[in-house]
Symmetry: C2
Subunit: 226 residues, 2 copies
DNA sequence: TTGACATACGAACGTTCGTTCCGCTATACT
DNA sequence: AGTATAGCGGAACGAACGTTCGTATGTCAA
């Protein structure tokens, strides 16, 4: 059993909660005096005393002689919110449109402009692997046409923009002969391409390499069930 | 076309990049002097001058007379990293184990203890809806047994712990008679329960309400393809 | 040339803010 | 009783840090 939360005094718990809220609102940590004011501690030395207690208990880190040199580490008991210092473990990715069987993917204009903030979604950075976020985008799936890729309607697909693929990649391809977009595993076999559905019981399709336009590589899929 | 990045001087771009890195490492913003030191500006007034430029350009916010009273707002051009101030838009959720057809879900001991940090995963808060993060957990899917729920091997399923369900919820249920765990949409029909696969072409199964133990409600599914 | 403006420098000033020290109280232990 | 020990308060000190001001350089237009 780990150190119990009850080891912390009322004031110490209050300090942690205040720090959390303060950092969310201000974007930087509070001063000792601000903490004291909020938690009803009338002396900076007492705040300092309790902060050091929290450091000992593993909830905080401090940097000496630095104003606002505080940071939360690990989880705040009872809230399970993540530590505040890891602010960039999430990345914003533009949600550029939809993907459906009957239409080509519409990529953002390749003019290097920025997207509206409204159409950005937050994605944990680890879902992007080591890919440059600048070439990653997201699409929502419209219709049931991606079911053989184990992807349902309204799923969000995270893609990296690329025109080629390696064997085994899951790619978004446009098939001009069928006027159809589809998500499949990509295997080049001679001058043909085998497109393998993710669903193990479904049969692959074979197309000419020239009739298979790769538009992106699927990095991950996010589904909100409700 | 939005304000172009090129409107910013070399120094201003450097300041933004430095702030980003500094905040990631330290957990709090840098001082004017620290910025100057890093960017090769030998005068605090010049740093101050350029910071105000960045405020005008919409990249920064400042709080007067507050040490380290800086925060990044919006996106940093070229990196597409999200603004640092929104530190808690992601939540840590315990990854408590696996889900497979042939075994019951093993929930964490209900003793209210905390989990090892190692087994926490980052989830965008919006995937949790309004659910209390304290009752949310994650499982990785083992085997292909959840294919009829449109869920593949190695997918991560985010669940809320609950023993009952409403019609239309996607739930994790344990079927004692079959010794099997499955993920299905839940519909109570009299004293029977209809368990509907997510895959639209698959047939539902019907079980006695008493032979259907709900263990949790599925909130979302995350799949890493690569 | 002159003047307006943007950018840059350095020094001095004054506030912000962490640190330290001394004293007080309550509880527990010897 | 005496004495640690934990917790709190207040005040003062000094370092950290933002702000301001005087000045200098370069560009551009009148």
């Amino acid at each position: 059993m780990k150190k119990a939360f009850s080891k912390l005094s009322e004031r110490q718990q209050k300090i942690l909660r205040f720090m959390q809220n303060y950092m969310e609102e201000a974007g930087y940590p509070p001063t000792i005096r601000e903490i004291g004011e909020d938690t009803g501690i009338n002396s900076t030395s007492v705040v300092n005393y309790n902060l050091n207690k929290l450091v000992d208990a593993g909830y905080l880190e401090r940097t000496d002689k630095v104003s606002r040199g505080l940071r939360l580490v690990g989880e705040i008991p009872g809230t399970r919110k993540k530590k505040v210092i890891q602010a960039t473990q999430t990345t914003q990715v533009p949600l550029v449109g939809h993907i459906a069987a009957g239409q080509p993917i519409q990529l953002p204009d390749d003019t290097g402009q920025y997207y509206d903030d409204d159409d950005m979604i937050d994605v944990p950075a680890n879902l992007l692997g080591n890919n440059d976020p600048a070439h990653v985008f997201a699409l929502t799936v419209r219709g049931d046409s991606m079911i053989d890729a184990m992807i349902a309607e309204n799923d969000v697909v995270i893609l990296r923009e690329q025109r080629t693929a390696n064997n085994g990649d899951m790619v978004a391809v446009w098939l001009p002969q069928d006027s159809e977009t589809t998500l499949k595993y990509f295997y080049k076999e001679g001058d043909k391409v085998r497109l393998q559905p993710a669903h193990p019981t479904m049969e692959p399709i074979y197309v000419d390499a020239k009739n298979c336009e790769v538009h992106g590589k699927v990095l991950s899929v996010i589904r909100r069930v409700h």
